[in-house]
Subunit: 253 residues, 2 copies
Amino acid sequence: MIKIVILGGGNIAYHLTSQLLKNKTARVVQVYNRSIEKIQYLDDKTSITDKLTELKDADIYIIAVTDDAISSVSSELNFKNKLVVHTSGSVAIDELKSNSNKGVFYLLQSFSKEQKIDLFQVPICIEASTEKDLELLEVLAKSISKKYYKINSKQRKSLHVAAVFVNNFVNHLYYIGNEICEENKIPFNILQPLIQETANKIEALSPFEAQTGPAKRNDVKTIKKHKAMLAHNQHEIYTLLTKSITKTYGKKL
Amino acid sequence: MIKIVILGGGNIAYHLTSQLLKNKTARVVQVYNRSIEKIQYLDDKTSITDKLTELKDADIYIIAVTDDAISSVSSELNFKNKLVVHTSGSVAIDELKSNSNKGVFYLLQSFSKEQKIDLFQVPICIEASTEKDLELLEVLAKSISKKYYKINSKQRKSLHVAAVFVNNFVNHLYYIGNEICEENKIPFNILQPLIQETANKIEALSPFEAQTGPAKRNDVKTIKKHKAMLAHNQHEIYTLLTKSITKTYGKKL
């Protein structure tokens, strides 16, 4: 059994703790959080603490706190010869300041506490400063998810930006779609099948091949009609994305 | 049985014809296309023609041609007292120029011939100039899909723009995500579960509630790090969408 201490009480710590408590390869020996109230619900399942000086012995210490707190939390871990990992997409491995071995255990998914997530479907990106530690993280990753990837700090940073495009920005386009529907008294769920199909399509086709619409066709007439209907903010986004699509196909076709 | 003539040989005509050939409420009595080669494959299933003067008698004539050709094709239909509909999202009902009754039968989905589509999942937007014709389109819509909506021409135009945002533009953001992955030798399919989750999430939450990420948190430090990594075109889109998200939450929170 891999002995694990989890540090943090946010969304990632929450989902990770829930999964690891029923995991057969690893055992959560302790959960730490600055405010004990937030992890009180774990009291009957594992040891809990709000003191970094009272951490138990473990093989892996998983720091699942906000990006800004990773350096300071890790700098307070004074033991050696253990593996200390963080779970952030945008923080480099060397921002860990403990004297122990370092690693990263990044779950590539958008987490909220309300939404149930099947971690088995979530890709895990691992990185470690030694080959032995990488192997340990591999064993842990395999016990949680069906997919894991060895991703270095530079790649992970890029991946995090890519995730902003396909998740945060995509959701904002859904928001604009919703806004246009509301303005015209159309139920937004009418767009749900199209949204699903758009996401499904790129399992079989590359996004380059899957592209359709007036911008790709360079259908100036339709583009002009659309622009005339849009509010300022929507208009600006429509114009820029249309330009970008036109450029993508103008260059390559 | 509702007798149907389909005019067109493109993607929508293709999917609609396939479905209606096995439909129990309607019967495809003829398919017309300007070039007969494109519909030759239907020869053993229904009557085919490339002459508008030789159209058979039917209850509904479905014009599934490109937007620009709707007016001219419809103006050549010289019969009266039939229902003539088009299938376009962005063309108003009165751009139909036949002497018959007018209507719209718009399938809200992105079609390509390679991709199989279950029309039962595709919302159908119907519009007609008389109540009787609207009822006829209702019967037809119900026989094809589990969801249909009465949507007027003005609403349909807005819906078409909304669809550009949640389909064409979203796919372009997938393209940029793919581009960033390729530049960093990361397999793009690592993002697939996140893309799926982003689409699934808004079945339960509104896009406003579902939003996450540095722009929503106004996390200036991460935003700055991201921008420093992006190419010109990516940078421009990142900046505008981040501004739009910040504004959305700045105003409402």
